[in-house]
Symmetry: C3
């Protein structure tokens, strides 16, 4: 790995330290540390996350972003104090605009964003998991979208959920609000890796190391194309895909990759 072993705080957003952000060997860890509100996605917390994700995207040393949490709750979702009826539609709209901004910042980030869960992910907390590119969780984790229990159907959490897991699993979670286990989350595709508390970090390291060993520019190109092509029919996707592959070959790191493969040596990435 070609990265400096530096560990430092990237950002302390505003006056509140709701997240701890560090960079080590290409991995930007963003840790929610507002366990007294069960890591609720309050507007300041969402601002923290958006800020960290965007900073990571702009920093060439950041190669992958890992979102995790302190305490037994990954995130319990929106802060209901921000959704009180007396605050009015305008204030509520701000909350959901911010939430959409957070979700899109994950998709639009040039680097992969991984959720690392060791506990409860509920409502918009579950949405945050489902919106990440990948997710790893421990066997003691659970996932639910119980908004309707409190009168607010998890309509926005249903957006990434419906794009992650089969229809019936999504609807059963949304209609009942009942939690599913880590095993079921893995089985239906809500997480891509199931681990134990003991091996969580090792299993995650395997994934992040694999990403970090590649070219940042190539990963960015691949991520952008993936989220673009899934919106098209098969034939159109292939038409765009050919151009993307040729563009990729003609990137400096594409050329270096092909050459190093033919010459049976390790590639030296430009970026």
């Amino acid at each position: 790995m070609a990265f400096r072993t530096t560990s430092y705080l990237l950002s302390k957003f505003g006056t509140q330290n709701l997240t701890k952000v560090s960079l080590l060997n290409g991995v930007q860890n963003v840790i929610m540390c507002d366990s007294k509100t069960r890591n609720s996605l309050s507007t300041p917390m969402m601002d923290n996350l958006i800020n960290s994700i965007r900073e990571g995207g702009l920093n060439d040393e950041v190669r992958v972003i890992v979102l995790s949490s302190e305490g037994p709750v990954f995130s319990a979702g929106h802060n209901f104090k921000e959704l009180l009826p007396e605050l009015g539609r305008k204030e509520h709209e701000k909350v959901f605009n911010k939430c959409a901004e957070l979700m899109m910042s994950i998709v639009e980030s040039p680097v992969p964003v991984i959720a690392k869960i060791n506990g409860v992910a509920a409502a918009a907390g579950c949405q945050l998991v489902a919106q990440c590119d990948m997710a790893i969780c421990t066997t003691k984790s659970s996932f639910s979208t119980p908004g309707a229990t409190f009168g607010i159907f998890c309509s926005t959490p249903g957006i990434p959920l419906a794009r992650c897991v089969p229809k019936m699993n999504a609807l059963q979670m949304l209609f009942t609000g009942l939690p599913i286990s880590a095993q079921e989350a893995k089985q239906i595709g809500l997480v891509s890796k199931l681990s134990t508390e003991e091996s969580l970090q090792d299993d995650l390291d395997v994934i992040t190391s694999a990403i970090i060993s590649k070219s940042r520019a190539v990963i960015e190109l691949g991520k952008r194309f993936y989220y673009k092509q899934i919106q098209f029919d098969l034939k159109s996707a292939y038409e765009m895909g050919g151009t993307t592959m040729v563009d990729n070959i003609n990137l400096p790191d594409g050329q270096e990759g092909v050459k190093s493969f033919i010459e049976k040596r390790k590639a030296k990435w430009v970026k």
Copy 2:
């Protein structure tokens, strides 16, 4: 639960009693009882089902609809006597228009519709399962789309199947007509809950109770939005989603839900 314990026949459609319909504690049970035709989806049977589903949607006491069957066959699909070549295209068209009407009545119902299977679901019978919002089945159940065996490819059953399960599983069922087990149905997402004959009702009760404890208006709003948003790209879905969440908060039951959560008391739903 705020529902009267009433059990009565909701409908006896036309001159034929092809279904038994009862309402108990918010659950409308619609039981196909034409086991001599293996609960075939004849036009009168489809009329019965459409009628029951629509009546349930209009009755505020109905909070969830459960479709099940008497006998060892959940449903064997269309009645081939209605598809005889000599009847002509016009008659055949009526059958498939009716079938599409039945399928859309499930999606358009304001309450969740659950398939409860304890036996064989084949062809349009399997389509009926796949089109439901959720499905629970016993380990002795099986699922198949064997139409091509009888010269009629399960093209319309393939419509909800393709939206329920992965591509290869759908195509293998459609091309071979071979049945899959209850375990495999759970694994691929054709049912959302696997149970045994002994615990089927208990497991279903957990799901229906969870739905019934919530607000009918909130569940309706959530169901409508789910089926709307899956037709859009991610960004458009989030734009619509914010508005839906704010609309939800400003429903009487949305306001009550948030307040009761903050006040740490049980919510009292208006509707």
Copy 3:
């Protein structure tokens, strides 16, 4: 089965024998036999495959096409010698146009195309699997999309992968390049049948026999409609589906199928 037991070479494409093609009892076996290049999808190999798939589609005796390989590697993907930077964009474009042509030839074939894997399927080799209608693999098989390791993100392999398996599984494969096991491939939907080396052929025979016992015209109609309807919203799909079902009934084999079912006898297909 109504097929002659004939086994002969269908095609020897150009000057290179990169595939062995035989027809036995309705099954066209296309075996990649370029194990010295790990069955790379070089342009000549892709031409061989396209040619065999198209020939199979035009030959009424061919009822199903099975793609497999000699040696421990199903296919390692594109031949990097064809992607060398010095060859220029035009040459690279030819490779990916050819690849898209191969992929679309599978979807457009009137008969089902099954991948049979007993080894490693990597990069465009994994793409070939994912693009098939169905896939069967042995427990010793593995699947990966490691292009980014060599500077070329598996953007085009991601196209069928994203349409086969859940989002997070697809992205984890694409970003990390790490292989998944046969068991995981079955669990996420990248193959529709998991087998052992000993029972691979028997398990495949069950699938191909089921297809061959049906009408070729009916299977073609069903395959074409499946790939059409998945591109539409639910309501539009049902509108088109009704017409397709009525067209099917009015095919000679549709009429024979319904009649034979009513008369409780074996159908005799015209085609």
